[in-house]
Symmetry: C2
Subunit: 348 residues, 2 copies
């Protein structure tokens, strides 16, 4: 149970450490004879370079900037702050500096301005929540010119020159919602899909959830009545009055965003206990309604883990030369009032 070192290999092969290193890294400038001797030894043993020593040599520090929405404007992003903080604490000792930069998710200009600022810092990597497609494409170009590594999370925009995406399969998550709705809905009740406050940019992705939801029922060949509603937050009450009016028979509602608590509040205020709700994300308000049984299931997109993982990939790349996966899709967690605690504990 001993571990081989370059020094040991050099001894075994009867050459110097330098030569072994050249062979290992295929740097050339090695005679056929020396190459042969070293290769022979390497074939015998299972050499694993000591990654600690390797990256210690690289005494430089790395700067990673995270560009994401301000959670005081949209609280969906709040868990990301914890994920970033966790990464900061964990990786500081390895010479990794992580800095968050917040933009206003309602304003394209804010997104552009923040990225412009980050650009001036010439970071080694950026991890972006690419809420705005067109602008992200432009900005990615500029980062590319700086040799900045670019990763994305949360929004599945396909962009060239980026290294990595961490997020969830939205279509799939819509199917999961359909499956759950199928289990809990009352016979003969109508089904409503509600999009709340989604602008055009985001809409493309949100629609994926709807598509998955509808496909699920389509494949089951259950031709239920499924209506889609696009609502603005300020007109919510009025519209819900219409949607949930008794004669329409809509009793099962799938809300495609974290704003489901707004609908839950509505049915809570009116004691509409026969309405079944399924939505997204573990906002405190959503958890509250989940425990009060106003929301039946939530799908957990785990933004905290998304951002943490996005950073972790970059760190492993810089420090240990690990490959960054092009795409990593997190599990689609189903949350009910009974297992919610186990998910909250997890993130400490």
């Amino acid at each position: 149970m001993k571990t081989y070192t370059i020094k040991r290999i050099a001894e075994l092969a009867g050459v110097s450490k330098g030569t072994v290193d050249r062979v290992l890294h295929k740097r050339g400038k090695v005679s056929a004879k020396a190459l042969d001797k070293v290769s022979k030894v390497l074939k015998e043993i299972d050499y694993k370079p000591n990654l600690l020593a390797r990256s210690l040599k690289n005494t430089r520090t790395y700067h990673i900037c995270v560009v994401l929405p301000d959670s005081t404007i949209d609280s969906f992003w709040k868990p990301c702050n914890d994920g970033i903080q966790e990464a900061i604490d964990e990786f500081a000792s390895f010479g990794i500096f992580i800095e968050p930069f917040l933009f206003d998710p309602r304003e394209v200009d804010s997104f552009k301005k923040v990225n412009a600022k980050v650009l001036t810092m010439v970071p080694d990597a950026v991890l972006i929540a690419p809420l705005f497609h067109k602008e992200t494409v432009q900005i990615v170009h500029k980062y590319k010119n700086l040799n900045t590594v670019i990763s994305k999370f949360n929004n599945p925009v396909e962009i060239e020159n980026t290294q990595n995406f961490v997020g969830q399969d939205l279509y799939r998550s819509g199917r999961v919602a359909g499956n759950l709705m199928d289990a809990i809905r009352k016979k003969e009740s109508g089904i409503g899909i509600i999009h709340i406050d989604e602008d055009i940019e985001n809409a493309i992705y949100i629609k994926e959830k709807e598509r998955g939801f509808r496909d699920y029922f389509k494949e089951k060949e259950k031709s239920y009545q499924i209506e889609t509603y696009n609502l603005k937050e300020d007109e919510l009450k009025v519209k819900l009055n219409g949607i949930l009016s008794a004669n329409k028979g809509v009793k099962s509602i799938f809300v495609t965003t974290s704003k489901i608590h707004r609908v839950a509040q509505y049915i809570h205020d009116r004691n509409l206990d026969d309405v079944k709700l399924i939505g997204y994300d573990l906002l405190p308000e959503n958890i509250d309604f989940l425990l009060k049984k106003k929301i039946r299931f939530l799908i957990h997109q785990n933004p905290r883990k998304q951002v943490y993982l996005g950073i972790k990939f970059l760190v492993d790349f810089f420090l240990f030369d690990k490959k960054i996966p092009a795409k990593s899709l997190l599990p689609i967690d189903i949350i009910s009032s009974e297992n919610i605690a186990s998910y909250i504990d997890e993130s400490k």
Copy 2:
């Protein structure tokens, strides 16, 4: 954006590296004056020791033994092999040697024999699946004498002198099953809880699942008929004939172990499509029946992650002096035919 080193601190304080090191580690033998100078500098800056350098100094290797059931005897444990392999690959470069040791989960003697063998190796740590309570207590004592760090996973036995437990809250998972069953069961159908092939040792823990399941319904004040059946695998068919005979009306079944596929096979063979099944674990057979809609939900205990995390805690402790949490409970994942893929991908 620069990172402080001991050398730099020594310069700033006007002392030598050695003195700084003594202050940092409170090794004493430092004059009040020197202590003061160094402390002052340390207060100014945010010094984070370079963990890579620190553990590089410690050139020793660590030996971790994992004691778990042979997955060819009970395939529940199969994912653990992957988790262990992942850990082996990931940590080999850091001088960590991980070795699995398999026992026959049906034989106490096998458990004892394997542990005896591991003892002779005097490992730095063991991670045990403590299937047998009494014997584990005895063996833990012996490991303790060797100064071996002892962690456990999967079975929540409370034992003194152990560092860590990684697993799932079984009571809670029973509640989750109850909650799900409540959602999918047909009105008026009877509910059955089936324990398959559990001996006395394991029974204590399995009973926790039953308790959670029953408590859920109790709290809802739904006084359904819930029957419990303890079945041996070889008498399964005969007994199921009785349990599922039409006149008893049992249409909803909670199987408390990964052996749920045996029940699924039964209802599949007989086309009993109105029977709702909920059970545990992502065995290939279970996944198969999940996709065939014979099993409605599975609860994922994630044995792979359990063992990986158990090892990871030990590694972080040895290499980076991180504290080992006394208990870490994994999330209780709810798996359906629609989100199963996202969980399988996760483990690559």
